[in-house]
């Protein structure tokens, strides 16, 4: 059992580092986009009381990437949000690798199941296009 303890600590370290990296990357991108956005639009009135829905370029990955290349602040922030959403997904994927290394078939199955359901509900929503 000692080896399992040791390996679980390893998985915890891997998962912890991945979460930290994902969050910092996302925050960095959002911060950079936020500065551009506030620089250009900071003095305009805030209009969140009426729901307009986001323009189509901010609803899909390809549109967000296009906006980012054109250095649009809102597109860059949205890219940071996509990184943020991807972080828990990557966390599940990484723990599968950890459990494989540990030879723990039961938990490889459990984590793989969670990943499949997660990807299914993310991708079937249509924003991945």
């Amino acid at each position: 059992m000692a080896s399992r303890e040791w390996n679980d600590r390893r998985i915890e370290d891997l998962v912890g580092n991945l979460l930290r990296a994902g969050v910092l990357l996302s925050a960095g991108i959002v911060f950079a986009g936020g500065i551009l956005y506030l620089w250009r639009h900071g003095l305009e009135p805030a209009g969140f009381n009426v729901f307009k829905g986001e323009p189509s370029d901010l609803r899909s990955i390809s549109g967000i990437l296009r906006d980012t290349f054109h250095l649009r602040g809102r597109g860059i922030i949205q890219l940071g949000i996509v990184v943020l959403i991807a972080t828990p997904v990557a966390r599940v994927a990484l723990s599968i690798l950890g459990f494989i290394e540990e030879g723990d078939r039961l938990y490889v199955g459990i984590a793989a199941f969670v990943l499949v359901v997660l990807l299914y509900s993310l991708l079937s929503s249509g924003f991945a296009g």
Binding site: D8, I11, E12, V15, G16, L19, R20, G22, V23, S26, A27, V30, F31, G33, G34, L38, G42, L43, E44, P45, A46, F48, N49, V50, F51, G53, E54, P55, L58, R59, G73, R74, I77, Q78, G80, I81, V82, L84, I85, A86, T87, P88, V89, R91, V92, S95, Y107, I110, A111, F113, V114, V117, L118, S121, L122, L123, S124, S125, G126, F127
Partner: protein, 278 residues
């Protein structure tokens, strides 16, 4: 109000949301949605989108610390995520047939009763219970830092806990909010997992539950960058502070904060359900 001032106010509110969310395992949405809609007059759909972003940010930001420090139990989290993700799909499908308002009223009442139950520490005799054979087979039992050393715990009533987690998933699919409260209650009250392990493991799990529905919200245009920006940056700062505070705070105090927040959430649910706002 210009965007600069608006962003600053949202940032400050998000700090508080991230702090309370990481301390209680409830995610940041509980505080954020009423603040955005009632105080700042933000449309409910934008507020719900921002709350989803806040939950993912709180979860990942705080879990990085909680997992490394040995509070969150990765196996319990993984095993119960099977139930919550299945439940969430069930809930989203059932939303077309079940009146969400009625569910919100029932859930609100459950939360108010739970606030009363959760505020008291569990008897110490609970710690001496023999391990549940299913928990042994699934290797759910673990230990966490307390005082100078580690305290071991045995997980009880695994099937009941799993069933309640399914219910938590259904609620999040149906109402889009409040699944963190069910998660903590299921682990604390049903499975008799120590309170700090329950809240930090709930915190670890809610990011996955929220990420599952993030695609839908992005696709419908509910997630606005102008709102997300101060929300993410504020929530991360607040949740970082929360992780520092949780380690040092007595369970008695944490239970009280948790009870107060879910009492507020219960009232919010009752109000929204009775006003038919789901």
């Amino acid at each position: 109000m210009n965007i600069l001032l608006f962003s600053a106010i949202v940032w400050a509110g998000a700090c508080l949301a991230g702090f309370l969310g990481s301390l209680t395992g409830l995610g940041g949405g509980v505080v954020l949605v009423p603040m955005l809609t009632l105080l700042l007059g933000v449309d409910l759909r934008y507020a719900v989108g921002a709350s989803l972003v806040a939950v993912i940010a709180t979860s990942s930001g705080a879990a990085a610390a909680y997992v490394k420090e040995g509070f969150s139990n990765v196996r319990i989290g993984m095993f119960l995520e099977v139930a919550t993700t299945l439940g969430a799909i069930l809930g989203a499908t059932a939303a077309a047939f079940i009146p969400a308002s009625a569910i919100a009223v029932i859930f609100g009442l459950v939360l108010i009763v739970s606030a009363y139950l959760a505020r008291r520490p569990r008897p110490v005799s609970d710690r001496q219970l023999p391990p549940d054979p299913i928990a042994v087979k699934l290797m759910l039992n673990g230990d966490f830092p307390e005082g100078e050393g580690l305290r071991h715990y045995n997980v009880q009533r695994v099937p009941l806990g799993w069933g309640l987690m399914c219910g938590a998933g259904v609620l999040s699919g149906l109402l889009g909010i409040g699944s963190g409260a069910m998660k903590v209650l299921a682990m604390d009250q049903a499975m008799k997992i120590p309170f700090k392990v329950s809240t930090t493991t709930s915190n670890f799990m809610i990011g996955v539950t929220a990420a599952a529905s993030a695609g839908v919200y992005l696709g419908r245009g509910y997630i606005d960058p102008g709102l997300s920006m101060p929300v993410v940056l504020g929530v991360l700062a607040g949740s970082w502070l929360g992780t520092r505070v949780l380690v040092k705070t007595e369970v008695r105090v944490l239970r009280l904060v948790f009870a107060l927040v879910i009492f507020g959430l219960g009232l919010e649910m009752l109000y929204k359900g009775l006003a038919g706002r789901f």
